[in-house]
Symmetry: C2
Subunit: 310 residues, 2 copies
């Protein structure tokens, strides 16, 4: 029998229950803390599970994260050693991420930040057009999300390059890797889009010093995790005008505290972590397919390499 323990403070439990019991007839969907006989529960579907969750479930084969990120699991003090940790590979998230990235890139490319400020100030002032071929976009991270974003931007004619830790080719994109490659990518990015996983190597990566490698007047878009882009450095490079602006969907603390300096900053646009919302249909389909394969002792996609952190 398949029994799934579910916990999330921010997703739609009813919708997941309906979908999973439809896709896996006979499965038992149990919402924490009502988990019934713990010995029967062999799968968990969670977002930021509470302390006490994992010790209560000693027979988990796999823990599915309700999102692309798994840092909320890998930093959990009670994560079981022997269960597979599985992230959603793409539950409708890549297209959403691409939409957001496209919007944010066009926001700066087409001077929409300046026109909005001019409207508020009562000005009427055209800025010269720049062809997309002359606008350099850099993408940090070329996984499923970064590749999709890069391809979409390249299709509009932007001059797109990407950076990854180790060499990786994405058709149509110039690609950089390693520490030297990061310096080179930053130096050629008018708009920098962050789509890296949060790991011990990416935490704090974009220091003030790194941000100063970007061209004067560049903009930064963070769609990954707040901790990759430390706040003090970002505020410093915005303050002296080295950066033109930042479009941020993710933050160290979420919700962003009411008195946080990002909130009312004239050159920062914030959204409440909505760039890629997990869609129940595709997410449940992916979890159900993986459970079927695990029950048949077959390999599944999205298994996290714990040492790598993603």
């Amino acid at each position: 029998m398949v029994a799934i323990a579910y916990f999330s403070a921010s997703d739609n439990a009813d919708a997941y229950q309906a979908e999973l019991t439809r896709l896996l007839p006979g499965c038992s969907f149990r919402r924490w803390p009502d988990i019934g006989d713990p010995a029967e529960v062999n799968y968990a579907l969670v977002w930021k599970p509470p302390i006490g969750f994992f010790p209560a479930l000693p027979h988990l084969k796999a823990v599915f994260s309700l999102g692309a990120g798994v840092d909320h699991l890998l930093t959990h003090p009670e994560l079981p050693n022997d269960a597979l940790i599985v992230r959603l590979v793409d539950a409708g998230m890549a297209p959403q991420m691409a939409e957001y990235a496209l919007y944010a890139a066009l926001h700066y490319h087409r001077d929409m930040d300046r026109y909005a400020a001019d409207q508020a100030a009562g000005l009427w002032q055209p800025y010269p057009a720049v062809a997309t071929a002359d606008r350099r976009i850099g993408i940090l991270g070329l996984g499923a999300l970064g590749s999709e974003v890069g391809s979409r931007l390249a299709a509009l004619g932007f001059d797109v390059a990407g950076w990854t830790r180790s060499p990786r080719d994405v058709p149509g994109l110039e690609s950089f890797h390693g520490a030297d490659g990061l310096e080179a990518l930053l130096a050629r990015s008018d708009i920098l889009i962050i789509l890296l996983p949060l790991t011990s190597e990416t935490r704090g990566l974009l220091t003030e010093e790194k941000l100063r490698r970007l061209p004067q007047g560049a903009a930064v878009v963070n769609l990954a995790r707040g901790a990759i882009l430390p706040e003090a450095g970002l505020l410093a490079v915005l303050k002296d005008g080295h950066l033109r602006g930042a479009f941020l969907d993710v933050f160290d603390t979420e919700p962003l505290p009411a008195d946080h300096p990002y909130r009312q900053h004239p050159n920062i646009r914030i959204t409440p972590h909505i760039a890629a919302q997990t869609l129940v249909g595709p997410a449940a389909a992916q979890v159900a397919a993986s459970i079927r394969r695990l029950e048949a002792n077959m390999p599944i996609p999205g298994v996290v390499a714990r040492q790598e952190g993603y």
Copy 2:
């Protein structure tokens, strides 16, 4: 010999002179009012030419408009009867128009209007994601610009339909035409994008009554001419919340007067007629190619049918 009379208050005369004399060696580029011997001048390249311009130039074979719109010529009281009126068919304008339309569509599709207002109000509040397939976009006008915009939006997965005066097929788009078709298109457009020429038939087309055929909460994007979307009707449907917002690049009077109600309206975003700026390189190349063909008595693209108005 080829002699071109040039007038524009808003374009770069030096750049056009350099490009055209390079592309048409031996041609004479004359800036109004320094036109030399009027009998030699057989072409005009203009944007909103002043009174007195046309009577001074009795031997014009063709008048090229420095933009896609020709309403500034067709309403000119001194327009010569026997010269060809030629509009730029696409001087780098279609991609720019597509970028702007994409940005404006994503602005509403991804609730960026709401998130910007929430940021200003100190709120943190996610709105549910909607798949592009469930977002209906309607495009009024399927010429070179409307077709490009429609294809780009369809490529992102939006449910796109278009409307034209007479039947026209654009691959991948549902298409409507005529008066009944307009009602049908409006009824299914969550986001309406206006890309029609300004003619006697389209002037004042989108009355308050027409705007009320749009679904509750729809948004309007005007990239064509202000006179197609009368102001009183738009303000009325915004005031009672039938429309969610309007993204406007064009206005009856430009620059938009400082005390105009659009300027500080919380649900209207304005830009100073920059959706598709004429790029000198492609525009000059198109004009030069057409002049060569006319000198060889060959037909050219973009000739305006005066009765039709575009």
